[in-house]
């Protein structure tokens, strides 16, 4: 066993090491612009669905390209980290929260389309209906990055 002074020093050392690991994880969080690219791509994929052909196809391809670029850059950045992921990232609680958020993203799109049906020209419905879905998707990504990488501000 050890005396109180040594125990205090050991606890302080543990705190410092925790901080180092958390800082390393947070430093490899995807930058804001990759999140913005991903959300913009998501918006284009959903927002173009009601437009006149061939716009939906073009919006879909452009959106997919932006989403893919944003996610790819984010993954490349996190791959250089010395920390794989924070403990508890994949927990029943986080899986449940993530699932609810994703259902909310697509649910909001469907609900917005129903609500806008009589108020907006038919071809423009998806353009407006995709806005709340994209904002919720942004919330999902920000939450997801926080769970996986922690808060950048320390």
């Amino acid at each position: 066993m050890v005396d109180a002074e040594s125990a205090r020093a050991a606890l302080s050392e543990i705190g410092e090491r925790h901080e180092q690991v958390n800082a390393e994880a947070a430093a490899h969080r995807p930058p804001w612009w990759t999140t913005a690219l991903t959300v913009l791509g998501f918006y284009l994929v959903l927002g173009g669905t009601d437009l006149a052909f061939p716009l939906p196809l073009l919006f879909f391809l452009a959106g997919l390209l932006l989403m893919g670029t944003g996610l790819w850059v984010g993954i490349q950045r996190s791959k250089t980290s010395g920390v794989r992921q924070r403990r508890g990232t994949v927990s029943p609680r986080n899986v449940a929260i993530g699932s609810v958020l994703l259902v909310a993203v697509f649910g909001s799109m469907v609900l917005s389309k129903v609500l806008l049906d009589d108020h907006v020209p038919e071809r423009m419905i998806s353009v407006y209906a995709a806005i709340p879905a994209a904002l919720l998707f942004l919330g999902y990504l920000v939450w997801s990055w926080r769970v996986q990488f922690g808060s950048r501000r320390r």
Partner: protein
């Protein structure tokens, strides 16, 4: 509630730092631990071998191609439980010392 249990294996100075670095993450790279603790490969390997023998850590090598490899170290469930018990034991020692003046007992 974590049962306090002082663990001599974990408490050794370098091993305490290693386990403290492994606790908040699922997978920490060998190089990252080595660089932060300013250890040589052989010293870190020696401590990891001791922790591995006790069933406290798992070590996994990841092949990145072209001869590049990364070594990931992780606490096992047993290691995490032992670390949490050890921290609880340290907390208990500190708390007991804090209570001492109130009860009137004091070391000379």
């Amino acid at each position: 509630m974590t049962e306090p249990r002082f663990d001599e294996l974990i408490h050794a100075p370098v091993r305490l730092s290693i386990v403290a670095m492994l606790a908040p993450a699922e997978g920490v790279e060998f190089r990252f631990i080595r660089d932060r603790l300013e250890l040589s490969d052989s010293v870190l390997s020696k401590h990891l071998t001791a922790l591995h023998a006790a069933g406290y850590v798992s070590i996994r090598k990841e092949n990145l191609g072209r001869g590049w490899r990364r070594t990931w170290v992780d606490l096992t469930a047993q290691g995490l439980a032992a670390f949490r018990s050890h921290v609880a034991a340290l907390d208990e020692i500190v708390a007991a010392a804090r209570e001492q003046p109130a009860t009137g007992t004091r070391d000379a």
